[in-house]
Amino acid sequence: MIRVRNVCLHYQTVQGTVKAVENVSFDIFDGEILGIAGESGCGKSTLMKGIYGNVEAPLALTQGSIEMEIEQAGERQVIPSTQFHRYWWEHISYIPQASMSVLNPVVRIQDQFFDSYLRADVRALGKQQLQGRIAEYLRELELPVEVLHSYPHQLSGGMRQRVIVALATFVHPRFVLADEPTTALDVVVQRGILTMLVNLQRQLQNTFILVSHDMGVHYQITDRMVIMYAGQVVEIAPTAILFERPRHPYTQLLINSLPRLGDDTQRFGIGGRPPSLLAPPAGCRFAARCHLADDQCRQVQPPLVEVEPGHFAACLKHEWVTEIPLVGGGESA
């Protein structure tokens, strides 16, 4: 498992310190698909960098700790995030957003497999056998083997993303982090990639951490969800429960913004903007956009409390969230 404890990740910029992630704690359990959701700029990707142990200036882990617990050679080992880079690809791998630019443009796909981390015994197989292994793996993922001899620019966006997924899972890492893996793709291709991810997770029995702003994607494939707002965790719950009875008004608004079949009433966005992370407000960060907020909310930072077993919410009014019907949900966007 991966333990995230009181983590603060700050960017040092000319304008000041951007507190991208503030005091975040949660666990990532073995064998689950954990979803992290929230709008752009809420600190999802920064948190992912932290969890991957890829923290480089101007980003810094100013407080808290991230640890990975793995079983190696029969014993449990706890690894701090500063050491994660030694386990990159072997135990923890990363799927970036689908884009043209993450694969080396002048090297064939097959060589990019060869270049990546490979366990010593796999590397010892030699080029011929390794090539066979890779081809076999691609066939398992229902990818045409010819892509191995292509350059990235010769592949479509969807194919490129499948190749990246294959690349990230080829050595069977325990943890796979996917940061908006389907965002740049059309919905048909999206579905294909998501199915591929879920099948892989079932087959490898490893842990997937999926970051997406798309609640629909989370609903389809995640087991548990972490909702982030303005650098903080506002709600954690198993996905089914979260969608059934959200206990934070922000989560409720996110879910409400999803279209449903047969429901043709107009969808509403969430009015306003998230606060600046350079100087966040004193009380609840969502108060300015919240229909439940009162003076207390604007002054006191709500703690993350367990509202029912396994369901955490950071809202002083969490009892009211499902009871007050949403009329419009703020201004229309």
Binding site: Y52, N54, W88, W89, E90, S93, Y94, P96, S99, S101, V102, L103, N104, P105, V106, V107, D115, S116, Y117, Y151, H153, L167
Partner: protein, 332 residues
């Protein structure tokens, strides 16, 4: 078939470029005041002998005829074009009459090529290597020091540096020769030593300045490439550091450098005008200089045409081999 069409179009452009270039250097000198007949006459008359004006006039006429300068510009141009296309003959040099231009060029070209190709390849290889390391490890102090050094040297005009070298190492401390003088039989060991010894200062003056440019440009490109997504992603994939540097960063950052190298190889055929004059180096640059001074139309045409053809050929070759260097590029 796309390849054939690409080749046909590309070759047409090639011929067009060469033709336009040659045409320009045919006409420009003829519009410049001073002509080779007068230069030659001046030389003869300045020797002090008094001559009969009738004789002078008939001599002028003979020279004009010999040099192929009679008739209108168009007549000269068409006879020049047909002669060059049919026989590749640029005629006799006018200031070294009757030595053929081709012979003068053939004598000077190996010198220029030897000096400039050595200088170019040395500075290219060295500059890109230093630039790669300095860019890849750009947080190190040594890297900053190298860049500052390159920044200081590269804006210095190469002839100023050459002059400085001559003053310092040929005049104040006479370690290297002041006048270019090669001894020994060509091809023999003492001859090679003598050539190396004599060429050292000109070589250093060219390498030092162009090295700065290669370092700065390569460093800038490496720093940019290093931040590209595919390099960052390679790092997170556990690709080894030297593989990232060579296979990922250098492999892409070198592409524009290859372009400039190929174009520079074309430029080598024009010689290094001022360096050659300063060091008395017997290359194409010195030849062009003499041709201009003596209004030697034929020699100008011969030397500069070679330059034009060389640059155009280098560009053509580059276009043809580029798809092999960069897989993203295809013939269209």
């Amino acid at each position: 078939m796309a390849v054939v069409r690409f080749l046909a179009v590309r070759l047409m452009v090639y011929v067009l470029v060469v033709w336009i270039g040659v045409t320009i250097i045919f006409f420009v000198p003829r519009f410049v005041p001073g002509n080779p007949v007068e230069v030659m006459m001046g030389k003869l008359l300045s020797q002090g002998t008094t001559m009969d004006p009738v004789l002078v006039e008939s001599m002028r006429k003979t020279l004009t005829e010999l040099f192929g300068l009679e008739g209108t510009l168009w007549e000269q141009y068409s006879s020049f074009l047909s002669r060059v296309i049919l026989t590749q003959d640029f005629g006799p040099s006018l200031s070294y009459y009757p030595t053929p231009v081709s012979m003068l060029v053939a004598r000077a070209l190996p010198w220029s090529l030897g000096l400039l190709l050595t200088a170019l390849l040395t500075s290219w290889l060295l500059g890109n290597l230093i630039g790669l390391l300095a860019g890849y490890y750009n947080k190190k102090n040594l890297s900053k020091l190298i860049e500052t050094g390159a920044m200081i040297v590269y804006p210095i005009p190469y002839y100023i540096l050459a002059l400085l070298l001559v003053i310092l190492f040929a005049y104040i401390w006479p370690i290297f020769p002041f006048v270019f003088q090669v001894s020994g039989t060509p091809g023999s060991w003492p001859w090679i030593q003598s050539v190396a010894y004599n060429s050292f200062l000109p070589l250093v003056s060219i390498v030092a300045v162009s090295l700065g440019w290669w370092i700065i440009s390569m460093k800038a490109m490496v720093i940019d490439t290093k931040e590209e997504d595919f390099v960052q992603y390679a790092r997170s994939r556990g690709v080894s550091d030297h593989k990232i540097m060579l296979g990922y960063v250098a492999r892409t950052a070198i592409l524009p450098q290859i372009t400039v190298l190929a174009l520079s190889i074309g430029g080598v055929f024009g010689g290094a005008l001022i360096t050659e004059i300063l060091f008395g180096y017997p290359g194409v640059g010195s030849l062009i200089y003499k041709a201009i001074l003596g209004s030697d139309y034929n020699l100008m045409l011969g030397t500069i045409s070679i330059s034009i053809v060389a640059v155009a050929t280098a560009t053509l070759v580059l276009d043809l081999i580029y798809p092999f260097i960069d897989p993203r590029i295809r013939y269209k």
